[in-house]
């Protein structure tokens, strides 16, 4: 039996309780897997990975200018969430995104949250991605964040905590969809006993959001013309851009396919110029328009911001959401929920220390070897110090960086992330996981059941990112 030797050890395990009992939501999966031999499991898992490679379900890792296509390693045991647990998570995420959109609207307009002294002004004014040029700009339907990927973890007691909100260009939804397809093909018997909520309506919901947020000026008879704007085939996430475009049935374009004339955006097609109304842009603000932001960007479209300002095109996500992507601003999200909604946060933050606050500053510098330190604006698990595991030199490097620029750093106690049985060569071992659900904000705020579960494949590692050796699992939310 596959799980006979499995040890949860001293961590919250998703599948097993402390006394080796199977959690009820995993009953069906466990029974189905117990009739599979190790050889069979191994060959099915390999078959999935080979299929991913052949089909190009990959991302590209760039080092030394050469790109290597890698698959996101996939583990066949699904991560299962009970309907009751999910209900809380879903409500918590909807609450959080509602507050975040209100926050973004507020700080780009009247800034009441600052005037009421809920957030000290210097944090916003010094935020790397705060776009002053867009103060008092009206975004269509007042939606700033259309798509968000919030990273959740579970602590030692199994409590869900929000680790961070990714609301510039969150990625991974394509893997969520491909993982589900792959598992259905490889292990159909797992699905037969359980009742799993489908995820394949994600592209439909995404398209609804894009069309809902068409500019106020849009007056066409047909649906608004939406496109996916990608940096191109050489971008590490290109597979996802193309995949989502295809699933939604909308064109995928690069900067060079677009032209701005008369403050309107056009595609260069075989039939001449065709106007674009909504752009799902997978290019960061900085690279979007070389006439306004970085002039060296070859990925963007000169004049795109002009067209956006003129109200002739919508951007998803809107320009300027990066201020809420800042790990220092993250600290204030529970306060935002209380301020805008008058509610207690359903999903708590991880307890965080701000290096720019005097008492936290001292505490952080005295405990660098015990804390996780993060820079305010890095992604992909970079710019991070894992104190208890770091070498002395690394700790000293971070000390200097914090002393030079305290505004740029936060710290947290290392969380004992939950673990999940994960296949390691020839048997199951526990590996740390997180969860990235995808939240879509349009006419309604919708959370796709589950999301992407990422696994830190190296033994003991807490870093789940694909670029640093992470893998993923299919994520299930049970129907009842």
């Amino acid at each position: 039996m596959l799980f006979d030797q499995y040890q949860p050890e001293n961590f919250f395990d998703e599948m097993f309780t402390r006394d080796q009992g199977v959690r009820p939501q995993y009953r069906a999966v466990c029974d189905a897997l117990n009739s599979v031999s190790a050889d069979d499991y191994r060959s099915r898992n390999s078959a999935v990975e080979a299929a991913f490679m052949r089909g190009g379900v990959t991302f590209t890792v760039y080092s030394d200018d050469k790109g290597t296509e890698r698959i996101f390693p996939f583990d066949c045991v699904p991560r299962v969430i009970s309907a009751e647990e999910w209900d809380v998570v879903e409500k918590g995420l909807i609450q959080r995104l509602t507050a975040l959109n209100l926050f973004l609207h507020d700080i780009y307009h009247d800034q009441k949250i600052i005037k009421d002294r809920v957030i000290p002004p210097q944090y916003l004014l010094s935020a790397k991605h705060f776009r002053r040029e867009f103060m008092h700009f009206e975004v269509p339907k007042n939606v700033y964040v259309h798509i968000c990927g919030s990273d959740l973890i579970r602590d030692h007691d199994g409590r869900y905590l929000v680790l961070e909100d990714n609301l510039r260009c969150p990625s991974g939804s394509s893997y969520m969809l491909e993982n589900r397809s792959a598992l259905k093909r490889t292990f159909p018997e797992l699905f037969q006993a359980a009742g799993v909520r489908p995820v394949d309506n994600y592209p439909t919901e995404l398209l609804k959001v894009l069309q809902y947020c068409a500019p106020a000026k849009f007056r066409g008879d047909n649906a608004p013309n939406a496109v996916v704007l990608t940096p191109g085939v050489f971008n590490s996430a290109y597979f996802e851009h193309a995949f989502l475009a295809r699933q939604m049935g909308i064109p995928i374009v690069e900067g060079r396919d677009l032209l701005v004339r008369d403050y309107k955006v056009f595609m260069r097609t075989t039939a001449g110029l065709v106007q674009v109304d909504v752009i799902y842009r997978r290019i960061d603000d900085d690279f979007l328009d070389p006439s306004v932001f970085r002039a060296d960007s070859l990925l963007g479209v000169p004049g795109l911001v002009n067209a956006y300002r003129a109200g002739n095109v919508s951007l998803a996500n809107s320009i300027g959401t990066g201020v809420a992507d800042d790990k220092v601003v993250y600290y204030f999200v529970p306060k935002m929920i209380k301020y805008y909604l008058g509610e207690e946060p359903i999903l708590p933050n991880v307890d965080t220390y701000l290096a720019s606050e005097p008492q936290d500053y001292t505490f952080i510098l005295e405990n660098l070897n015990k804390l996780v330190v993060k820079s305010a604006n890095e992604a992909g698990g970079y710019g991070m110090l894992m104190g208890p595991w770091a070498a002395k030199e690394e700790i000293e490097t971070f000390r200097k960086m914090i002393e030079e620029n305290p505004r740029n750093f936060i710290a947290q106690h290392p969380i004992s992330l939950s673990r999940h049985p994960t296949w390691c060569d020839d048997h199951f071992e526990g590996r740390h996981i997180d969860l990235r659900p995808y939240i879509l904000c349009g006419e309604k705020t919708v959370v796709t059941p589950g999301g992407l579960t990422r696994v830190a494949l190296r033994k003991g590692s807490l870093v789940v990112n694909s670029s640093q050796g992470g893998g993923s699992k299919d994520t299930w939310v049970l129907k009842d």
Binding site: G55, A242, V253, G303
Partner: protein, 358 residues
Amino acid sequence: MPPHSNAREEVARHKQANVMLARVAGSLYWMSRYLERAENQARLIDVNLQLLLDFGEVSDEQLKAHWLPIVRSSGDEEQFLKLYDVADSESVTEFMTFRLENPNSLASCIANARENARQVRDQISSEMWEVLNDAHHFIQGENAKKIWHEGASAFYDQIKRYSHLFQGITVSTFSRSEGFEFIQFGKYLERADQMTRLLDIKYHILLPTAADVGGAVDTAQWHAVLRSASAVEAYRRYYVADVYYKKVVEFLLFDDCFPRTMRFCGEEMAHFIDLITSAAPETDEKAPAIERFMAFLDKLSTLDVEDIFNQGLHEFLDMAQVEIGNIGGHMYSTYMYFPPIDMQAEIRFQQQQEQQQQ
């Protein structure tokens, strides 16, 4: 003459479909052209390798005389001579099959087809991509050279099989409203062009005397031309067993039923040109380049093989190449190509526009 659905009906379908980026149309076109080029190369090399077997012992001079015209026909002689001292079966076929320095080698053509496909991964079905990807990894892999040494015919058969599989998958899984016409136009254009080169090879093989015309060697070489085009059986249905050079040329240029002849390819090209132009109403359907191509097609249905040989086969083939190149250039620059913008000028222009907006 194989029937097509009414072009008007197809236009109505096109109008409802998604718009097509010019850049994407261009990539589909080149993907198709490079693969067709690869298939034709494979046929050519395979047949000519087998032809040599008929001759038994062949001297070095004979080998050179056999192979150089083939290299010459795709314009690669200079490159070949840079890389190799000797023109024999091994060096020429290696050059035409594996060398990436040769832009027309099988390996180069397949790599280019695949690269164009990769640029438009989202437009083609996953099966189409997988075939090109497999073909590329096959020819780049270590196993390929081994197979080639052990049995060249099996190797070239595999290449042809990839091309046929790709074409079959395309016809079966590619929506007619998403750029199918660009793929087909590219394929038939390349095929027509390759036919001029195939026929022209015979021109370059100089026969010592007029008395050799119609002799065993001559006949065998024309037979090889037919085999390169997979046209032996079709030819025989018309002309029985008589492989007579004028009839071979007549068949491969003018027959309107066999899918590899110049006339057949030209008529397919005309059909797809019609679809492409109808979907873009602003462009001039009566563009001079298109009128000129139609006039050329007209010639193909009215000219006689005697006229060709009076004018000179090589001269006719040269003229045909020019016509094919011309229509290809016109279609590409009109529908599949926008000149790259001058980024700095565009940035300045947009910044001025921004000033006006304030």
